[in-house]
Symmetry: C2
Subunit: 375 residues, 2 copies
């Protein structure tokens, strides 16, 4: 078995149906990866994550290296065993979160020196250390270490940041220890500047990766701008490697990105929203805390196969949210992850049958039907 | 089908093996009832509660009448349907919690006027209203409305309080609407005074109930005193009715009370402790937040069949607790409820085979083995 293998099974326009094979199992694409920041998809048992249809989860290098520590996870048998998730795991590089969460950062050519947001302890994250940590965690898919270009950034700033990330991408590739079924993805940067994005793709292709991620989006630029950058980036990516849009996104973002040829996604939105009483449905978002649900005996979404919809009324979910009961977080998180996986199943089915344009149009029409709560 | 039926299947000394039949199913006794205060056993899916072996849960009248409201629960099909618990439910009368949680209480012969701890709204709870609320909730077992005698209380105070509760017991009986499979339990009061307890039993027997609870214990009097009161009370209770010790307790309290002829228990300890990192094991209590667990690859308890012990290390549970992850609450709550149900299974098996004294001695010896964390 070579590195993670990607099989392109079909296309519908720019959209792709695929299969990713890793050391810990297979992932059908387009795929949504629930985020398991600190070694747990928040408020979910791993078997429940599996029940939603998720085949791969994401772990955060920054969080896990600080607590419980990557060396400790390695001693305990790796992240799969530690968190009881036997399937594939992708870990990010830590680059994004060290900039958004840590304190007293100093970034130079070598890497980033920072203080833990947990206890103030000092740490150095470099491409080499990021590769080491992700190997200790036993990630099936390792992300190369990059700087997430701030937004907004001038073209000059974006260029300098991207070029640093490309040098770090080479060092990540050099430090990554190849193992059968394990892969390393490069990350395209370049801000909102198509030329920079194209240069970034060329630099990554010259190094060679098992997959290609588009980074630095969903950071405030808006959906139109994000789609514009995808239109200017994705066509340069090789067809025989998976494409991962990092940190995206809302359901409509995902549909639009799949239409543009993206294969993989991750986002905290379904889990985080589940903990604040926001639910995703085919007719838009619902705020279950809204008083209009308090006597509503209907499920959150008719026909949804998740436990929240099969076994409970909106009135009950409203009650749990108002009473701040843990079960409310559990059920809404489950529903939202189920909704996202239903969406991915729908997208895969539509691509396979060559009816994605119709699927996307129906999706958009229903989402706007408008009798629901604003997110 | 008459009211809840109790079948005494066997005895071992004063201890009893029994079976309680209700409108929503059967309960093997001695039984422990997980507390589902606000229409949910905190941090548990109902199917997980069932998986621990629990056959009946408790709901709190005080909480449910204030939020979401008993009329609302009735409109939505009753508490079983509302919370997706198809099995038997016992509700308390609200008497205990109105005194411990509400504000600006005024207690007189009629009942208790109080302000909600949630929104300050004014309410009146009487024996008649308590019966109505518990019927709206559709409780299989309704508790008569009583005043939980404060502790400490002089003999005169305890007598007056008990006599008020006995008058309220009669009013509860009069207001209770008998239905097949539904029952009403009376509550013995009388503080720490054996003569008062006996008078209370006599008063309740004169009225006639489907089961008898011992109330007003586990309020600070200590285990020795609690056992002394049980020794002075339980022998007067009729053999053909279930006996319920309210709000108890620690595992050792339960073993001692079963030895004295108690059939039913409820307590927030396993669920509340699970949310603060405390776990019950056969060798005593464990504080999973203790740093000694951080590299411990062993389960919380070897041989335990709960998911926390089957699938996770102490190191992982420690990590979840330190990171304040919801999954930590979920897994420890599940383990603790599983532990309590294992204890009840063990007690029932021992009574059935006439070896309860040996079982209790082995239990006590192991609990004291001493290398564990203080609760």
């Amino acid at each position: 078995m070579s590195p993670v293998a990607f099989h392109l099974l079909g296309t519908d326009g720019a959209a792709r149906l695929g299969r990713l094979e890793t050391a810990h199992g297979t992932v059908e694409t387009p795929a949504f990866m629930p985020v398991g920041t600190a070694g747990t998809v928040k408020a979910m048992m791993p078997e429940s994550v599996t029940a939603t249809g998720a085949q791969i989860v994401l772990g955060n290098t920054y969080h896990l290296m600080l607590r419980p520590g990557a060396e400790r996870v390695a001693r305990l048998g790796g992240l799969h065993r530690f968190m009881n998730w036997p399937g594939p795991i992708l870990t990010d590089s830590g680059g994004f979160q060290v900039m958004s969460l840590s304190k007293l950062r100093k970034l130079d050519e070598q890497g980033v020196t920072f203080q833990s947001h947990l206890d103030g302890s000092s740490h150095l994250l470099t491409p080499e250390r990021s590769m080491e940590v992700q190997r200790q965690l036993d990630a099936d898919i390792t992300m190369s270490f990059d700087e997430c270009t701030p937004f907004p950034a001038s073209e000059d700033q974006a260029a300098q940041s991207m070029q640093l990330s490309m040098r770090w991408a080479q060092r990540s590739r050099d430090a990554f220890v190849a193992r059968p079924g394990y892969g390393l993805f490069g990350i395209v940067q370049g801000g909102v500047y198509p030329e920079l994005r194209r240069h970034s793709v060329e630099a990554l292709l010259a190094i060679g990766f098992d997959g290609y991620a588009v980074g630095g989006l969903a950071v405030g630029e808006g959906q139109d701008e994000m789609f514009r950058i995808l239109d200017a980036t994705v066509p340069w990516l090789p067809a025989d490697r998976p494409r991962y849009l990092m940190g995206v996104g809302k359901p409509a973002d995902i549909v639009g990105a799949v239409l543009r040829g993206i294969d993989m996604f991750d986002c905290v939105l379904p889990t985080r929203s589940g903990r604040t009483g926001q639910a995703f449905t085919s007719r838009g978002t619902v705020n279950i805390r809204n008083a209009r649900h308090q006597d509503d005996g209907r499920p959150l979404e008719e026909g949804c196969g998740c436990p929240a919809c099969r076994n409970y009324s909106r009135a009950y979910l409203h009650h749990l949210a108002k009473a701040e009961e843990v079960l409310g977080l559990m059920l809404l998180t489950w529903h939202n992850l189920h909704y996202y996986q239903d969406l991915m199943r729908g997208l895969r089915g539509a691509i396979g049958e060559g009816r994605l344009a119709r699927y996307a149009a129906d999706f958009a029409a229903l989402q706007d039907c408008g009798d629901l709560d604003p997110l």
